[in-house]
Amino acid sequence: MGSQGGFYQSKEFLDLVKSIGEARSKAEEDRIVLSEIETLKRRISEPDIPKRKMKEYILRLVYIEMLGHDASFGYIHAVKMTHDDSLLVKRTGYLAVTLFLNEDHDLIILIVNTIQKDLKSDNYLVVCAALNAVCKLINEETIPAVLPQVVELLGHPKEAVRKKAIMALHRFYQKSPSSVSHLISNFRKRLCDNDPGVMGATLCPFFDLIAQDVNSYKDLVISFVSILKQVAERRLSKAYDYHQMPAPFIQIKLLKILALLGSGDKQASETMYTVVGDIFRKRDSSSNIGNAVLYECICCVSSIYPNTKLLDSAADAISRFLKSDSHNLKYMGIDALGRLIKISPEIAEQHQLAVIDCLEDPNDTLKRKTFELLYKMTKSTNVEVIVDRMIDYMISINDNHYKTEIASRCVELAEQFAPSNQWFIQTMNKVFEHAGDLVNIKVAHNLMRLIAEGFGEDGDNADSKLRSSAVESYLHILGEPKLPSVFLQVICWVLGEYGTADGMFSASDVTGKLCDVAEACSSNETVKAYAVTALMKIYAFEIAAGRKVDMLPECQSLMEELLASHSTDLQQRAYELQAVIGLDVHAVECIMPPDASCEDIEVDQGFSFLDGYIQEAIEKGAQPYIPESERSGLLNMGKFRNQDHHESSHGLRFEAYELPMPAVQSRIPQALIPSTEMVPVPEPMYPRETDQTPVSPIPSNPSNAGSAELKLRLDEVQQKWGRPTYTPETSTSNSTSQKSVNGASAVNSTREAYASRKPQVEISHEKQKLAASLFGGSSKPEKRPATGHKVSKASSHMVEKSHVPNSSMEVAPEKAAPAQPPPDLLDLGEPTATSTAPSLDPFKQLEGLLDTTQDALAANSATTASRSPDVMALLYADTPIGIHNKDDADLLSGLSNPSVTHMAGATARSRLSQSSSKGSNPKDSLEKDALVRQMGVNPSSQNPNMFKDLLG
């Protein structure tokens, strides 16, 4: 291809990019992309497109998809491009294919063959490109097609290939663990690879493997520990350093692995203590990356078998995080604290005020993290404060995903630690009121069960108090508009069961409210059904108590409406209600015994109580009951016989099929025959069990006693009268037509206390109180000074805030410094970087190899105070020039361009920069600017931001 360069870009492409870059709105961008789609559709299928043109088309397709439009018309061309001989074109083809296609796409089959061929290539860069594609495109079915070749590549002389081959195996493991289960030894082998890059990559599959099965890898603890030790002691190549930190990403991965291996294993953990302690000691808490490693250490310490010394170090690191001004570090600190308190709960007390600060922080992410922490440290002593806080927060957010989560956490905590029934009911009310339709229906059932069964501790008296308070609060809450459906169901049920139980409220009060509910929820049949049943219960209790039932006029009109309802369920309930009201005291008591929701209903599955009735009927000449199975058997027999007749005329032979049927039937115990085939037969209703069921069971023979046939039906009975907890709503009506929850602005007195904003000085007092209630145990003397500190902090709150941006700004340039030295330095250094570095760099890998093997070099790596010169020196001085040229030629021969030397490379690069890229020296930058100005893109045009140096 010569000097044209594969990265060459046409004016057309630059124009496209320019217009996309300058698009003012999404609509404008869409217009540009749509016209681009039209252009490409026409152009891309023209014959004989030069390949660099085609590469550009494919990139334009990538743009189209990236901006959210469909480019499937060009997929096939991307696939074709993977066949190309030119490495750059091929790799761009692979890139496009991995971006466009998922592993199950039809076109993949066309690529597998190319991948197979490329995996065998002599050019290691082609092999690497193919391995990249393998990781993205190979699915479970195509693994066998490439597996042998990938395994072979694990022994490739080039470390880059070994690394990617390992990752390909890792991918196969993720896709189908069984496909590589026989190859685990290869991972172990590559863990000892003398290239740190390959070793580092191997940690990825090991993390997954160990997470699945810790015990098979316990023998590797020592290896991991010794690798971590070497990394921490700077035995790896400097190329892996990041901001003076030796290979931090490898350290982090190793710490994650050790955390898994040491969890609950004292012996394994003991071998880790020294190295983890060393890392703590060497900490560099001035940089983000240092803190990232530190955080991982804390995670490791809190996962492995506890060691006091390490726990102290961890606690110390956490307190630094929490005291930091950076929100990021605070976040990490809160997270780490949440991990550590599982082992040493007392540590939370030290940081109580910091935690409260985070809780009150306007930053949402931090707040959530803090709630997570609070959730973990909830006890019966602080549950009230924590749950109240959570509910306040829940009310304040709109994110349904998180609302659901926090609601279920509130419920969980309330159930676990509730200090009093009253509080529990009120808390649940709040949760339901504000997140009702987001909570799981089981939670509602659970609440009903709790109210019905009571807490069981303080006897009946406490239980009835609980119920009274529930009834009272519900009657009060019903005044609120737009209550969630789930909550209304609970309310109806509780009012029905216990509304009039303590005599505080009259039947007409309660029934009036229930009618209101039914009317307000005209579209929600589930709630209506609950309301009607509740009405029935109340009237029944009235009758049972010997009082005269006066149906309210609104109730009567409701009944009239429901008697004609389209919903059979509602209609039936209405008829039942009507029937119950007409019954006498005795009958009603049998149907609806008061407060019987917790009583187990004994079900006589054999219906022995019907024996007399049956006997009578049979004596009168009725047919004896034939169990369904036999009936259907007979039926089938009949059919077969009929068919037999047919058969003779058609000449078909059925004998072979006829025999097994009855034989099988008779062998199956009747009890096992599913009841679903049962044909419902209308029968007179029987009290108690059956009056709620839409379908009454068929009385069976006494001989069938114990048959499970009727189980399903009886379950339905239980749903009404058994424990409500376990019963899904019986009604067939759609319970999903629910009103969305919103910030129904019910104000609660408890909440008010917290919500009310107080002057700042008082906040610190409040905070202190909050701390005391959250962390309870904290001793007075400790609190005092802290309060003083708090006051000053609160008053300087504003000042502090204005500091934050500064400090975070400061961090970035400081970090950029080592790798990206100040401009003057760069100007000196960069010419070398652009021209020689490219050819130099591959040997850094070699260097790495030397570095790991030669311990002597470790001395070399001791940190020097002068940062950037050190880095430079190591980058450019260390490389032995002799090997360099020879190997360079070697490398390039792989690219079928052996004549390109070092310097030629440099010139090629600068020539290249004329056409497209800018180099990093001033001249190149100028050229770049000139070029883009020529294209009409310039800093003064619509989007000057595009020119801003990212690191500037």
């Binding site: 698009a23 990249n132 890059g197 990559a201 490219p838 130099l840 801003k948 140096d949």
Partner: protein, 143 residues
């Protein structure tokens, strides 16, 4: 699988690079990017660089006009991801020299190649700038 996706989005919310490590359809991507961009771009500098979204955690960092957003799962070390972003920018800066948004737009494939070297299967596999850039430089030279 730690990293689920990497996005580069400019201040106007226009996508400049998108790489996913789990398959999402075009519509899913569009929706996700829209939601995330709305969420992250609205935040100010002082706020925490981590945002929870659906079941992802987004770690983001802003460089001049460009936001780098990395979606990770719960087990990931957020600070390390934040530094990974910086490493990526440093690497691009070494290659392009004073890298700016336009460099990424004009050389989208190169930016992708760098990512391909750095991240595989959603894990960071290479952090040596020399190793990341050498294949790209060799390709440049060969063509």
């Amino acid at each position: 699988m730690g990293i689920r996706f990497i996005l580069m989005v400019n201040k106007q919310g226009q996508t400049r690079l998108a790489q996913y490590y789990e398959w999402l359809t075009l519509e899913e991507r569009r929706a996700l990017e829209g939601e995330i961009v709305r969420k992250c771009l609205a935040r100010n500098e002082q706020q925490c660089s981590f945002v929870e979204h659906r079941n992802y955690k987004i770690v983001y960092r802003r460089y001049a006009s460009l936001f780098f957003l990395v979606g990770v799962d719960n087990e990931e070390n957020e600070l390390a991801i934040l530094e990974f972003i910086h490493l990526l920018v440093e690497t691009m800066d070494r290659h392009f020299g004073n890298v700016c948004e336009l460099d990424i737009m004009f050389h989208l494939e190169k930016a992708h190649f760098m990512l391909e070297e750095m991240v595989m299967n959603g894990s960071v596999v290479e952090t040596s700038k020399a190793n990341i850039l050498s294949p790209i430089q060799l390709m440049e030279k060969a063509s």
